[in-house]
């Protein structure tokens, strides 16, 4: 067979180097070609990651046993010997950018699996890569400011990933730098102040544009024009989060939370004002806890009720007999509050104002008496605070420490104001009221915690520079907690009390619970998980919006945003794509057929979304399940996969 020259560029020699000419015959297999080139370069190094890339055809030659003939490579082909793994800048949901080695030769689906393995995120099938918005070059400086965390040195051992006791995978433990990176990945960061600068989708079309940027999962990065050191975004793409387990999913959970948070702050998913306040409170809480709490997954054993106390006692009793008595003492002698306070009941004593009484706080009730001496007699009134509303009315500057209580009674709600003399008194009574409203007594372990919380609020208020008159708890930075819309609508002074009110209900949550709660509320939003595409239905003259979710397709009116029709996947018989005319046709049970062409995205993306969701639904709850990649390609690949 005739020998001919094949020209191959070797990346190691630089872009300017003249291509090697290798003399080959058509029946030589690719492996042999690589071998000859390597010999010719006379460079000693590990070439195992290198493969041939066919420039004209935009194709990897990965089958080393295939002959040149089989690949239909002739003398005019320009090949490049290049590493399969190249550094890539990856933007994570939490806004940080990593530089890591990603696979450029295998389908993006594989690349994502590799990246997720490196980052210790389970269920990589739920994520994918997104091209960033083309930045206008006008402000180059901001581009440079982005800190890039380098993880290219990380090498992950094959085999099951080992993790250290704190949940950190072994490969992150190599250096303090990588450890720091892991911490950053697994702990949510405080909201940056850049929200207002970040572009926000304002219309359905804007939201639809986002989804036009997804990379094709069944083709490699290089094939899709992604170059070394390019920046891509790693995002959760399919909104059905399988088997979320705080113990194993530290990074996954955090990144999910970050993605959810940004979706809410940027109003990518709509929510009501009340919901926004709750999200803000959770964010505030999460931010606070993740700063203070070292990433420990175990929850501290609360000595909440006698049951656990009893057990502790028993254990202790055998060890040290005498201390048991002390313990018993502390347990039986429950804390109690009593003080002279002022009370004001707007309904009955509108003119009288505050009046002093002797108050005792017991269990979940407040009783008051004329004086301390009469406290053994029947109280003037006893109020059970269970289920009541507690609102602070405080100003450190004005030395005003009031608690407003809205106590439910048979006749309706009773409004009561309690005025305390000083901070300490206030924080104790306030804490007691808050606990009581949730049905917990003073003996509850969270009491001292609550007291501290309130005190620290007050402290912060005091140290606020430039003490303004009549300020309320101006202690939380409402920026970054609510979407810019609410900053325009309300003053920070107005927002703070509302967020604090919502915060009351979540202040006791441990970090992971708070994260999970945030995700739950996010998932319960009606607009959650809807991906929009602008499409043109067959036979229609105007553009409409197709919403794709994890269980249904929604036809939405582009102008009004109203839902026109929904089809659930479980009545879907089949869907086809006519690649020539770029049309998706779907057949449902009962002879319902729809067809549409895609306007904002390619129909491959829509097809992959639908197929992807159907794939997600095939996953079972079994832990041992192995990701069925073949099925994924089958459902999402389109004509290339066949």
């Amino acid at each position: 067979m005739a020998a001919w020259d094949l020209s191959v560029t070797v990346e190691e020699l630089g872009p300017e180097a003249t291509p090697f000419k290798v003399s080959v015959t058509s029946d030589l297999h690719i492996g042999g070609v690589v071998l000859r080139i390597v010999e010719k370069t006379q460079i000693k190094k590990d070439w195992s990651d290198h493969a041939l890339w066919w420039e004209q055809k935009q194709q990897w030659l990965l089958q080393l046993s295939w002959t040149l003939e089989k690949y239909e490579i002739h003398a005019d082909a320009r090949l490049r010997l290049t590493p399969q793994h190249k550094p890539l800048r990856l933007g994570l949901p939490n806004g940080t950018t990593l530089r890591l080695q990603a696979c450029f030769s295998h389908p993006v689906f594989q690349t994502v699996i590799g990246v997720c393995r490196l980052l210790n995120m389970r269920h990589p099938e739920e994520l994918s890569l997104l091209r960033p918005v083309e930045e206008k070059k006008k402000k180059k400086d901001t581009e440079e400011e982005v800190v890039v965390y380098d993880l290219t040195s990380l090498r992950i051992s094959s085999g099951p990933a080992h993790t250290l006791s704190n949940g950190m995978p072994v490969h992150f433990a190599d250096s303090p730098q990588t450890e720091a990176v892991y911490k950053m990945l697994s702990v949510s960061l405080p909201a940056p102040e850049t929200i207002t600068k970040t572009p926000r989708p304002t219309s359905l079309v804007d939201k639809a544009q986002v989804h036009s940027r997804w990379l094709d999962s069944s083709r490699s990065l290089l094939q899709q024009g992604v170059q070394e050191h390019d920046r891509l975004l790693l995002r959760f793409k399919y909104y059905c989060f399988h088997d979320l387990h705080p113990k194993y999913d530290a990074v996954r959970l955090t990144q999910m939370y970050e993605q959810a948070r940004w979706a809410i702050l940027l109003e990518d998913v709509g929510c009501t004002e009340e919901e926004m306040m709750l999200f803000a409170a959770l964010q505030h809480h999460i931010g606070k806890v993740s700063l203070s709490e070292p990433r420990l997954m175990k929850s501290c054993p609360a000595m909440d009720d006698l049951d656990s106390a009893l057990q502790c006692l028993e254990v202790k009793m055998d060890a040290e007999e005498c201390s048991a008595e002390d313990m018993l003492e502390t347990m039986t002698v429950a804390p109690e509050l009593h003080d002279y306070l002022n009370i004001f009941r707007p309904k009955r004593l509108t003119l009288k104002g505050y009046k002093q009484f002797w108050f005792t706080f017991n269990n979940t009730s407040i009783s008051y008496y004329k004086s301390k001496e009469e406290s053994l007699k029947e109280p003037i009134q006893q109020m059970n605070l269970k289920g009541c509303e507690v609102v602070p009315d405080v100003s450190v500057a004005g030395q005003k420490f009031c608690i407003r209580l809205l106590i439910p009674g048979a006749q309706g709600m009773n409004e009561v104001y309690l005025r305390c003399e000083n901070e300490l008194q206030y924080s104790r009574w306030m804490a007691a009221c808050r606990l009581a409203s949730k049905g917990k007594s003073l003996a509850d372990s969270s009491f001292s915690n609550e007291v501290q919380n309130i005190q620290s609020f007050l402290d912060m208020q005091r140290t606020t520079p430039g003490v303004k008159a009549a300020q309320t708890d101006d202690i939380i930075n409402t920026h970054g907690l609510v979407s810019p819309r609410y900053h325009k609508k309300y003053k920070s002074k107005q927002l703070t009390p509302r967020i604090l009110e919502a915060y009351q209900n979540v202040a006791q949550l441990p970090l992971t619970d708070a994260l999970l709660r945030f995700l739950q509320i996010w998932q319960a939003l009606p607009e959650f998980g809807v991906c929009y595409f602008v499409v043109r239905f067959k036979g229609c003259r105007k553009d409409e919006v197709l919403g794709v979710t994890n269980n249904r397709l929604i036809r939405i009116d582009l102008g009004t945003g109203d839902v026109v029709k929904t089809w659930r996947y479980n009545i879907m018989k089949q869907w086809n794509v006519n690649w020539d005319i770029q049309q998706v046709a779907i057949e449902f049970n009962g002879n319902v057929n729809i067809a549409f062409s895609c306007v904002t995205a390619t129909c491959k993306i829509v097809h992959e979304y639908i197929g992807g969701y159907i794939f997600m639904a095939t996953r079972t709850r079994e832990q041992t399940e192995v990701l069925n990649q073949e099925l994924f390609y089958k459902l999402t690949g389109g004509h290339e996969a066949l």
Partner: protein, 728 residues
């Protein structure tokens, strides 16, 4: 110990008999925990006497004359009885029918048993857990039943001949006390003291806890208009109470059965959710309220799980909804209730809102979201950010309104109301909404329940289904055994039950129907049979104790077993007794702890396990067929998977105090259970139903006198009743 009994007993009858004191009592009880709290006690003994002193005060203030309060003895059992029997307007106790009283006593008794058993079980568990502790002298291995007696030691030293114990001389208790005493001599005095102290603390803590438990006497109106009275303690969920009622009424136990409250003044009605605490909402009732608790079938209770498409696909056309396949329904439930987040039906529609303080009803476009009900303000769009919050669900419950057309001039009678459970009267804080039709109302009320209760609702449903399935199985079984009349083989029917319960997860009722009737005529739980034969024991403590409610299923042999036990303990080493309370036998220990849950169920029919907690609450089949053998008998042919003798005690431990120690318990005033065939007993009281009272004995039977100690207390109660009857 007996003295203590004297102490407590008088109180209880008084509570039962004397109407007015009841309320005082309630009031008086409250302050006592706090007093206790403020007292600094440097000695446990001091604490005990302190407690007792309080009790005395309490008793005196109640004007108890029958028996003067005893000098401080250390048991704090009084706490149990002194606790408030708030009569919650349901009906004051003295107005109760006698049969109600009987039923109540049964409840009470079972309640006490439960507590004692729990205590014993806990103690047993602890002991075993601590087994390897170096502090415990190895000598204890020999003292197989030492610990439990010691549990009652606070009282036992003072135990003296007592009016009631004397006639009972032939019953187990006194016999039993003999083996106990010698045991005390063996270990060093220090150890004993230490042990006693420890036990005292435990006991005290347990009592303290118990003392805080609030109980209500509740009159439940049945669907046929009759009523039943039962006692509900604050730890009981609606589910527990329902189970209790199932046993009392022998209804078909289908998932629709529910407890509802009605408020005639506001013309409201609401079905309690199964996971709710019953006492909580009832505590909100005012003294003069005419509210009622009703036991009835409510098809709307779990409709959302039976036909989820009606709620989640309400926008679809009727035909699609109607033709929904079962598989698709399951899928819907799964999608909306099994994910990480509960999905609330996306309801929206125009409803009428009653304007505050006005008589007019105004139309508004409302939307339901997980976070609350919102409305669209005039001139705004439906986008989330424009919505105005109408109400959030944290502090309100949803009620059906009845005949609001008349009362409030509502456009239709299909109204629902949102209000804080505490509010019982007309108030501006109540929100009234009116729908066009019943269907819309149902949609909204259910939607709100989903938003408010979320996952609990689905959990409740699953529990109800299990319960219903087991019942079906049970009735099937009864029928089967009745038909064959052969010695019933326990496993096969239960297997059948399992199959039907699981395969036919959605509709266990149909097969149940015919069988249920069979079961109804002679009430399914066999327990009734033996007890009916027994002469209704008069309040005479001399009588040989009839089986307690929990053990009624067991035939007489059980009692005799208990009698011979005291002599046996040393003869068979790892008897249930020893296992129950002692650290010793290491091998079985580990097994024991790990198998904590299995003991909750009936070992004989393994399939029952599949039914979960529900299974335990049924009077389990096996005892019927089982001639209860003395547990020690190793050769006894146990049904199918014969519990390995070493395992039996383990099984036993979880729920029942082991025989010999139990006796000393009984002395302390409560739990009767005779040593049963371990498997059966374990099955009888699965943990979930611990609080649940046992099947009540038939009317007019003096409740559980099985054990002498229990007899003391109960006979007192009965005496008081007799007195009352005499007075009438």
């Amino acid at each position: 110990m007996k003295k203590n009994n004297n102490n407590d007993i008088p109180q209880k009858p008084h509570v039962g008999v004397g109407g007015p004191p009841v309320q005082q009592h309630d009031g008086l009880c409250l302050p006592d925990p706090q007093e206790r709290r403020t007292t600094v006690m440097d000695d446990i003994d001091a604490m005990f006497s302190d407690l007792l002193g309080e009790m005395d005060l309490l008793t005196q203030s109640l004007g108890v004359e029958t028996l003067p309060p005893e000098p401080p003895s250390s048991s704090s059992r009084e706490m149990n009885f002194s606790m408030g029997f708030a009569d919650m307007n349901v009906e004051s106790l003295n107005e109760l029918e006698e049969n109600d009283l009987d039923a109540l006593m049964a409840d009470l008794m079972a309640d006490l048993n439960d507590t004692e058993e729990k205590l014993a079980a806990e103690l047993g568990g602890k002991k075993e857990a601590e087994a390897p502790h170096p502090d415990l002298p190895p000598a204890q291995h020999g003292l197989s039943f030492y610990p439990v007696p010691s549990l009652s030691t606070p009282t036992s030293p003072e135990r003296g001949p007592n009016t009631f114990s004397a006639p009972l001389a032939d019953s187990p208790a006194p016999i039993h006390s003999q083996p106990t005493l010698p045991q005390h001599a063996k270990p060093s005095m220090e150890e004993i003291e230490a042990q006693m102290k420890a036990d005292k603390i435990k006991l005290a803590l347990e009592k303290l806890k118990e003392a805080k438990v609030k109980k209500l006497v509740v009159k439940v109106v049945m669907h046929d208009g009759s009523s039943k009275t039962l006692m509900v303690d604050e730890r009981q969920t609606v589910r527990d109470v329902l189970d209790n009622l199932f046993e009392k009424t022998h209804c078909d136990c289908n998932v629709d059965w529910s407890l509802s409250e009605t408020n005639p003044e506001l013309q409201l009605e609401r079905g309690f959710e199964d996971h709710e605490n019953l006492v909580d909402p009832l505590s909100a009732w005012t003294r003069d309220s005419e509210n009622k608790v009703i036991f009835q079938e409510r098809p709307d209770k779990y409709e959302v799980f039976k036909n989820p498409q009606n709620f989640y696909l309400w926008k679809k056309d009727k035909k699609t909804i109607k033709d929904m396949k079962d598989r698709d329904k399951e899928l819907l439930v799964e999608e909306n209730f099994c994910g990480t987040s509960i999905i609330v039906p996306d309801l929206e529609g125009v409803l009428y809102l009653r304007e505050d303080g006005k008589k007019s009803w105004k139309q508004r476009l409302f939307l339901l979201r997980a976070s609350g009900i919102y409305y669209v303000p005039k001139g705004k769009s439906k986008t989330s950010r424009d919505l105005v919050c109408f109400v959030q669900f944290d502090n309100v419950n949803v009620y059906y309104g009845k005949e609001f057309k008349n009362k409030y001039k509502a456009p239709t009678d299909f109204c629902f109301v949102l209000k804080h459970p505490q509010i019982q009267k007309e108030s501006q804080y109540i929100k009234y909404l009116c729908c066009d039709d019943a269907w819309t109302m149902n949609l909204w009320v259910t939607g709100i329940r989903i938003a408010k209760y979320g996952k609990s609702l689905y959990e409740n449903y699953k529990t109800s289904m299990k319960k219903a399935a087991v019942t079906t199985a049970w009735t099937n079984r009864t029928a089967a055994t009745a038909a064959t009349t052969s010695t019933p083989s326990t496993p096969s029917p239960t297997t059948k039950a399992k199959a039907s319960g699981q395969a036919n997860g959605h509709a266990p009722q149909p097969p149940a129907e015919p069988v249920a009737k069979v079961g109804n005529a002679p009430p399914p739980p066999p327990p009734l049979l033996p007890t009916q034969i027994l002469p209704p024991p008069p309040p005479d403590p001399v009588l040989p104790p009839p089986p307690p409610p929990l053990t009624t299923k067991r035939s007489p042999p059980a009692t005799s077993v208990s009698r011979q036990l005291p002599t046996l303990p040393t003869s068979f080493p790892p008897s249930p007794t020893s296992m129950a309370n002692l650290p010793p036998p290491p091998p079985s220990l580990s097994q024991d702890d790990s198998s904590e849950s299995p003991p909750d169920f009936l070992p004989p029919p393994p399939p029952t396990l599949g039914f979960g907690p529900g299974a335990g609450s049924l009077p389990p089949p096996p005892p019927v067929s089982l001639p209860p053998p003395p547990p020690p008998d190793p050769g006894f042919p146990l049904p199918p998977p014969p519990p390995d003798p070493a395992f039996c005690p383990v099984t036993n431990r979880g729920s029942l105090p082991a025989p010999p120690p139990r006796q000393s318990y009984i002395g302390a005033g409560a739990p009767p259970p005779p040593p049963p065939p371990p498997p059966a007993s374990a099955g009888l009281q699965s943990t979930p139903s611990v609080r649940r009272t046992g099947p009540p004995p038939p009317k007019r039977t003096t409740p559980p006198l099985a054990a002498p100690g229990g007899g003391d207390f109960m006979s007192e109660l009965a005496k008081a009743m007799a007195k009352k009857r005499g007075n009438q």
